[in-house]
Symmetry: C2
Subunit: 129 residues, 2 copies
DNA sequence: ACAGCGTACTATCACTCATAGTACACTAAG
DNA sequence: CTTAGTGTACTATGAGTGATAGTACGCTGT
């Protein structure tokens, strides 16, 4: 399904959250589709079940998934996800910080704009991160 | 000089590093200008001297400052800073992640470009973060 | 009844951050 | 030389977080 990086700065459960969220947003996991069970995914990733459960709890808190007792965890309908706006704000914030960083390097608006245009084209056809 | 946020996700010494680095890059601290002493800044920020020293050591490692034994810590000359390229790569990476995030929200290139243009103008005249 | 599911709880270990305190070598000023 | 101020080094401690292990409970579908 995906991999986790033990030696990264991001914690494991954060990586699980981000990866699953991306799979949901990209449509790789469809609405009402069942996610792997906690124990199943924990074996697949070779991590502790508690770690996966922590990730699932967070995804449920953010309303990307919903849970049916005794059945499993499923992808929430896009219509019931009011927090896409929050994700959008996060994206804009990343752009803002990037612009600020490049400005500190002494780059002018025209240069920054050039870098940005290249980025847009670069990622246009790519589905990977 | 600046403030630290105790309740943020970033550690204190990282905040000190980032703040001082920004002051140097923006020119608020000029070349060969003396930084506050470890004990002085630690009192000013109400943090432990060891925390400030850790930040200074990191800034020296990144060659933003240099140290003269018994005298103090000073701003490195811009010509002796080969790692601006690294900062630039970090900025570009932020932009890339921002674009990716906004794409996951379902935004098209034209929309993303619109947000970006607004950002460029918004920060154009601002000196604050 | 049984297997599989999410959930809850306690306990432990490791790591990082921040703190406290002490000590040393250096420099400039008196 | 003495003193104050500087960076630096070191040990120790407490708090917090992340990850782990193990156990247990209630739910669902077969």
């Amino acid at each position: 399904m995906f991999q986790v990086d033990l030696k990264g700065r991001k914690s494991i459960y954060e990586q699980v959250v981000d990866n699953l969220r991306d799979l949901i947003l990209s449509g790789a996991l469809r609405e009402d589709e069942k996610l792997p069970s906690v124990r199943e995914l924990s074996k697949s990733l070779t991590v502790n079940p508690n770690t996966v459960q922590k990730a699932y709890r967070e995804l449920e808190r953010q309303q990307y998934v919903y849970t049916v007792a005794g059945l499993g965890t499923f992808v929430e309908k896009a219509a019931d996800r009011p927090q896409d706006a929050e994700l959008r704000r996060a994206g804009v914030e990343l752009l803002r910080r990037g612009v600020r960083e490049l400005r500190l390097c002494g780059m002018e608006n025209t240069e920054i704009r050039g870098v940005f245009r290249a980025l847009l084209l670069e990622n246009a056809s790519k589905g990977k991160s």
